[in-house]
C-alpha cells in the first residue's frame, strides 16, 4: 500500500519520519501493517493469537533504532493492538513509537495500544512515543495506551511519552517493575486544550536492590481541558525513587496531581514534588521587554516548558 501525503504528514509529526527509514520498521495504518521490514538484529513478526506484533532485539545489538508508528485516517475506526518488545541482553536500542489520528467526521476514532516491554539484563532502551490528533470533524480522537515494563537486573529503560495536541480523550496506564541495579526514567509531556480530557496512571514497583526509578511529568492545560496525574512509587528494598509533576494551568482548565510513595523497606529513599501554577506575569513582561508580543511570550514559555 502506498502512503499518501496526509499519512506522511502524520508520520512526520509523530515519528519525525521524512520518508521510509532504513532499519527495522512497522507502519500500521487503520489496523493493518502497511510497511514492515526487519533488520539482521531486530525481527518484527505478527502475533499468532491477537492483533499486534512482537519485536525482538538480539542480545548485544548496538545503536539501532526501530520505528513502529501507527496512523489512523479512517473515521470511526476503533483500533486495538498488542505489541511485545523483547530487548535482548546488553543491547542498546531506541524505539520510536507514536500514534497520529486524522478524523474529519462525526464518528469517534480510537487507538488502544497495549505494550509489553521487557528490557533484559544489562540492556539499555530508549522508547519515544508521541501522540497527536487532527482533523475537522466532531468525532473524537481517542488514545488509550497501556505500557507494562520490566527492567531486568542492571538494565536501563528511558521512556518519553508525549501528547502534542489534538487528542480529545486519553487514559494512559503505565506499570513498571525494576529489578536489582536497574534504572527506569519515565518522562511525560502533555498539552491539553479545548474540552480535552487526559489522565495518566503510573504504578512503579522498585523490587531489586540499588534500583532507581524517576518519573517526571510536565503538562499544560488550556481552555476547558482537564488532567489527572497519578503516580505511585513502591520501594520494596534498598532503592531510590523520585516523582516530579509540574503543570501550567491556564484559562478554565483543571489539573489534579497525585504523587504517592510507599516504602516497604527502611533503606528505600523516595521523594516527590508537585507544583501547579499559571504563567507568572513577570515571565511574560520579561520576554516582552526583549521584544516579543504577549502571545509570542506565552508560546515561548509553553514550548520551553514542554520541550
Amino acid at each position: 500500500m502506498k502512503l499518501n501525503e496526509l499519512d506522511l504528514n502524520l508520520l512526520n509529526t509523530i515519528a519525525d519520519l521524512k520518508g521510509v527509514p532504513s532499519g527495522a520498521l512497522n507502519i500500521r495504518k487503520d489496523g493493518q501493517a502497511v510497511i514492515r521490514h526487519s533488520s539482521p538484529n531486530i525481527s518484527i513478526t505478527s502475533l499468532a493469537d491477537k492483533p499486534g506484533i512482537k519485536i525482538e532485539i538480539k542480545p548485544g545489538t548496538r545503536d539501532e533504532t526501530v520505528h513502529i508508528p501507527v496512523i489512523l485516517t479512517k473515521s470511526g475506526f476503533q483500533d486495538l493492538v498488542y505489541n511485545t518488545f523483547i530487548v535482548g541482553e546488553d543491547s542498546e536500542v531506541t524505539i520510536i513509537a507514536g500514534c497520529g489520528i486524522h478524523n474529519d467526521s462525526h464518528a469517534d476514532s480510537s487507538h488502544s495500544g497495549i505494550h509489553t516491554l521487557i528490557v533484559k539484563k544489562g540492556a539499555r532502551m530508549k522508547y519515544v512515543e508521541k501522540h497527536y490528533g487532527e482533523g475537522s470533524g466532531l468525532g473524537k480522537r481517542i488514545l488509550h495506551p497501556t505500557t507494562n515494563i520490566t527492567v531486568e537486573e542492571g538494565a536501563s529503560a528511558e521512556l518519553e511519552l508525549v501528547q502534542i495536541r489534538g487528542v480529545d480523550d486519553t487514559h494512559r496506564v503505565s506499570t513498571a517493575r525494576v529489578h536489582a541495579k536497574g534504572s527506569l526514567k519515565l518522562v511525560e509531556r502533555l498539552m491539553t486544550h479545548g474540552g480535552q480530557r487526559a489522565s495518566s496512571d503510573i504504578d512503579v514497583d522498585i523490587e531489586g536492590q540499588n534500583a532507581t526509578a524517576q518519573i517526571f511529568s510536565r503538562s499544560v492545560a488550556r481552555d476547558d481541558s482537564a488532567q489527572v496525574f497519578k503516580a505511585s512509587l513502591n520501594g520494596k528494598t534498598e532503592c531510590m525513587g523520585h516523582v516530579e509533576c509540574d503543570a501550567i494551568i491556564m484559562d478554565n482548565a483543571r489539573i489534579q496531581a497525585m504523587p504517592a510513595l510507599l516504602a516497604e523497606d527502611s533503606n528505600a529513599v523516595l521523594t516527590h514534588e508537585a507544583a501547579i501554577g499559571k504563567i507568572a506575569g513577570e515571565q511574560l513582561i520579561k520576554l516582552m521587554s526583549l521584544g516579543l508580543s504577549e502571545p509570542e511570550a506565552v508560546q515561548t514559555i509553553l514550548d520551553g516548558f514542554l520541550r
Binding site: 513577570e282 521584544g291 504577549e294 515561548t300
Partner: protein, 249 residues
Amino acid sequence: MLIMENVTMAVDGDDGENREIIHDINLEFQPGRLYAVTGPNGGGKTSIAKVIMGIYKHSRGRILFDGEDVSELSVSERAKKGIAYAFQQPPRFKGLTVTDLLGIAKPGMDNLAMRKYLRDVGLCPEDYMERDVGPGLSGGEMKRIEIAQVLAREARLSIFDEPEAGVDLWTIQKLLGIIIQRFKNNDHATAVIITHNENVLPICDEIIVVEDGLIKERGTPAEIWPLIKDDIECKMKEQCRGEMLYEIE
C-alpha cells in the same frame, strides 16, 4: 532622546487608597551619555525605570522617545523602538536555555557572538549555553545572564536596575566594569544604571538622586558626588583595608 514630562505614577495600595509612587518627574536622557540613578531604597528608582519600559503605566504626563510620544505603547513596542531593561530580579524559566533567551534578545545572533557576550559577563559559554534559566542557577548567575541579554540587544537606551544587587563581591566590579566600558564615551548608546556603587557614581556623566518619588538632585559627579558621598561610601574602608580585586577603568 528620552524625555519624561511631568510623569506621575500611582498604584492602589492594599487599603484601597491611591498612592503616588513617583510625582511629576521631569527628566531628559541625552544620546551617548551614561547616567547613574541613586537614592534610598523605596524612593522610586525602579518605578521610574519600569515606567520608561512600559511595565508600569504612568497616570499623568508623557514619555517621549526620539520625539515620539510612547506613553500608550506596550512593553514589546517600546522594546522594538530601542529601549532595554535589565531586571533587578530576573524571572526564571523552566525549559528555556541561556541560548534561547539570548536568541530572543537579539534574533539571528550567531553562536560566536553569544559566546562573546557570555564571556563578557564572566560565564563560560561551554558551561552555560545549554543551561536552563531555571531554579538550577544562582541569583548571581541569573544577573549575569540578564546583563548579557541587555548588552546583546544593543538598544539605544539601556537601563540596568542595580546590577550589583544579589551579586557576589568578586563579580560586582567586573559586571559594572563591563557596563561602564561599553557605555562610557560611546556616542551611539545611552545607558542608565540604577546603582549605589561608589566606584560607578563618580565616573558617570550625570548623577540623578531620587528620593520619595522626586528628583532630589541632578548634576555632574563633581556637583553631586560630594553631597551624597558620606551616605554611600564605606566608612570602615581604612580600618578594614579590603582591596578591590577589579578596578573600574
